[in-house]
Symmetry: C2
């Protein structure tokens, strides 16, 4: 029986357990740490003497994504990426994910398949196994819960609380792109809704839209750090926003910080669109969030080694406890950094 509106297969046709079987029949484990995956009460993971890392995220329709412009496949991909980036940020190896879906009756089996296509694509790309989850009906929007599990040797763990005054503040990638990509998609959505403009004008902004819809994690930089025998003193993945995440490290490490306006990496497309929106590109760069890049600190004597790694930029340094959190302008002026508040995050 096909769904009357979309021509897709209705979920009730398969039933809860039929849907789970349908979605997970292709799962073949990549990782030797995966002992038992889907199909039992809990997933069994063998960390082989290492520590186990666990992180969980909740993604809600209307808060974290808008299905008007988010392809379901990309949503599945990004859900996995979001969860495993927390494992990488502890210097761990993600090995498994568990996905919970709350699905309203307006979804068809084919649509859920699309989400899972993205999930499987991310699993393959980052070498993680889907080992469990929960599937339930939802009265309202689509709900996605993602739990990532990883392993790490105790001596390799990098926490948020290990930074010291004078440590260099380092980042991968560029900032604000994902946020500006979202602003562009939102603008086109509003044009579509109000003025029925059906052809969104996204030309020239492919990079920032890609950063918003299908981000990747800078895994290669972690490998380069390891190769160069550099163990950062603290590390975090930038998901809440560069300023907010840097301040997390400062608070837990009991340090201040100074970062430099001209050193914050911002892509040309981010700057261009920010200009169109009449905002200083530094605002989305510092507060936008969802960058999925790495922010870490290293002792000052690592300067030369760090400078030799192309994917890493130094944006400032840590200062003594109680000296405050500052953004330093080109003219030497100082502005206090501030974290974003509740509900601002998209």
């Amino acid at each position: 029986m096909a769904d009357s509106e979309t021509g897709g297969t209705s979920i009730s046709e398969l039933g809860k357990f039929g849907l789970i079987d349908h979605l997970t029949k292709k799962v073949v484990p990549f990782n030797k740490t995966t002992v038992t995956g889907i199909g039992d009460d809990a997933s069994v993971i063998d960390p082989g003497g290492s520590m186990t890392l666990v992180s969980t995220d909740l993604l809600l329709e209307g808060i974290h994504f808008n299905l008007v412009y988010t392809p379901l496949k990309h949503l599945g991909y990004k859900s996995v990426l979001r969860a495993i980036s927390d494992i990488y940020a502890m210097n761990g190896n993600p090995g498994q994910v568990l996905i919970s879906l709350g699905i309203s009756s307006r979804f068809t089996v084919e649509q859920i398949d699309e989400i899972y296509e993205g999930i499987y694509l991310a699993c393959e790309k980052y070498n993680v196994d889907l080992v469990g989850g929960d599937t339930t009906s939802s009265l309202t929007g689509l709900t996605i819960g993602v739990t990532a599990v990883g392993t790490v040797n105790k001596e390799d763990i990098i926490k948020r609380d290990g930074a010291h005054p004078n440590d260099l503040i380092c980042v991968t990638g560029d900032y604000g792109a994902s946020f500006m990509g979202l602003q562009l998609l939102e603008r086109e959505r509003k044009l579509f809704e109000k003025e029925k403009v059906t052809q969104p004008d996204l030309a020239g902004y492919e990079y920032i839209i890609g950063k918003q819809l299908k981000p990747e994690f800078p895994v290669s930089t972690l490998a380069e750090l390891q190769k160069a025998c550099i163990k950062p003193s603290s590390m975090i993945d930038v998901s809440d926003g560069l300023a907010s995440d840097l301040m997390h490290i400062c608070k837990l490490s009991d340090t201040g910080c100074r970062i430099f306006y001209s050193k914050i990496p911002i892509d040309y497309e981010t700057s261009k669109l920010a200009e169109e929106f009449n905002i200083d590109p530094i605002v989305p760069a510092l507060n936008g969030g969802e960058d999925y890049e790495l922010l870490f600190t290293v002792p000052l004597d690592m300067l030369e080694k760090i400078e030799s790694i192309e994917s890493i930029k130094i944006i400032g340094h840590m200062t003594s406890s109680g000296t405050g959190y500052f953004l330093v302008g080109d003219d030497g002026s100082e502005v206090t950094l501030s974290a974003q508040g509740w509900g601002k995050k998209k």
Copy 2:
């Protein structure tokens, strides 16, 4: 600033990170496996050479709970219980939980505190640590994601696929109570909504309401099994319904089963209310769900040992592959068991 309607503290007043600090400031780890809890990218767990078990559940307002009659404290308690019961069902020791909350703006800080009171109460009772999670705003109802982590020695794992023909089918507790408790609460809710009856009539049904709102897990039975050196051949926690969960074991173990009508433990309150509702108590007992009891199988030669443990009842036995799943009546008549479908679960 107090919330104008309820007099409570608005969440926006604390901000996202302020709320997390507020909710988790009391957390002190109980478990030696907990290395790093809340406050970093991921939680660090040291399974000490054992296997790591992970399970996740999603609870959605209107699907899994109705806040009209579910006290928030009980909801927090039950969320933890639901997740750790999956760890117990693998014969593991739950050590940690991660809680994700999606909260709409109608909630106050005091209400979220109540949820956490229940979470902490369950953590204390079952000796597990709250080590992480995610907190986000929600456009619709309350969303709770719970991930439980545990440890187990490889040789102690009990899966769903190990049952053999002639194995005894054993259960703890009684069945259908939680479901009938829910029916009673739903009846009183409707009376309240339609006829403004403000005093719900719940007298004489305290047990089944307790089973619905604040279930417990039969941990002591697991200890008794261990003490008696009985390792079940298969095990599952009964959350979807006795029939459905037994059929999970049968399918994965490739067996049939016969269970006996007169052997299914049903509490007096369950039977009495079922009678009031004009339904055979066996229906909620087999299909109600949310019993949070243990269902397991043991080889036939364990009969005497099993009979000596008071908290365990034998309800039937496994049969050869392909012989079907049957409920046998007192007169020897056989009815085929059936699993419940999508969306039926409350």
